[in-house]
């Protein structure tokens, strides 16, 4: 699984960073999330799916 952020939609509420800090980082200057990994480790895939579901603007894009 790969994951990316749609930066036009990211609203900087940091939910993804709180739920899955292993995959998502936060840029304090831009107030936007960043993806830390090229591909999501298998044991974190469910967490990333949860993050995508919870992201209100739908900024977390999963590529299975």
């Amino acid at each position: 699984m790969r994951v990316k952020i749609d930066y036009d939609l990211c609203m900087g509420d940091q939910n993804c960073n709180k739920v899955c800090p292993e995959v998502f980082d936060f840029d304090q200057d831009q107030l936007q999330s960043k993806v830390r990994v090229d591909s999501v480790p298998a044991h974190l895939e469910d967490k990333v799916r949860q993050v995508a579901r919870e992201c209100a603007p739908g900024a977390v894009i999963i590529e299975e």
């Binding site: 036009d8 939609l9 990211c10 609203m11 900087g12 509420d13 940091q14 831009q30 107030l31 936007q32 992201c55 209100a56 603007p57 739908g58 900024a59």
Partner: protein
Amino acid sequence: MNPKDSLREEHGTIMKMLSVLQRFFVKPMSLKDGEAKDLEELIEFFEIYVDRHHHGKEEQGLFPALSRARTTDIDSLISSLLDDHCQARDYMKQIKSHAASIQSCTGVDFDEFKEVAQRFVELVRKHIRKENSEVLPLIEERLSEIERFQMSGQFHDLEEATFGLRGLETFLVGVRILYLKYYRQ
């Protein structure tokens, strides 16, 4: 829904519709059939949902409650957020004025529309990120459970006053259609 989640969810909807507005100003200057009407609906979204409903909740409910809680530096932060609201209102008036004649507009008119719409999108995106980062966490950190409960009631009353019998959910159906049509095709 608690006030923080309510405002957070609204921020998400607004971010989506800013991306739809962005699609309008990167398009060629002439609008196809139906697109002028869609632009009118989009402007209605920003005037009613964003300015009257969402900003109403913040200006009448959230900001006064945080100000009463005497959080450090909150008044200067609120002042800058209110300035953003005023600026956004001014931009939206200009967008509406350009959109009214956009079907028959000259290149110059479209350029003016594009410029002010771009400024609006940048301002509101930055504003939302600032609120999510600096203001929404204060709702749980600084306000008591009773204050949050009262704010939820206030938000409910504002929603009824804005959307009345039509209802917020009905209003949002059209918004979702616009989003799917222009952004997530």
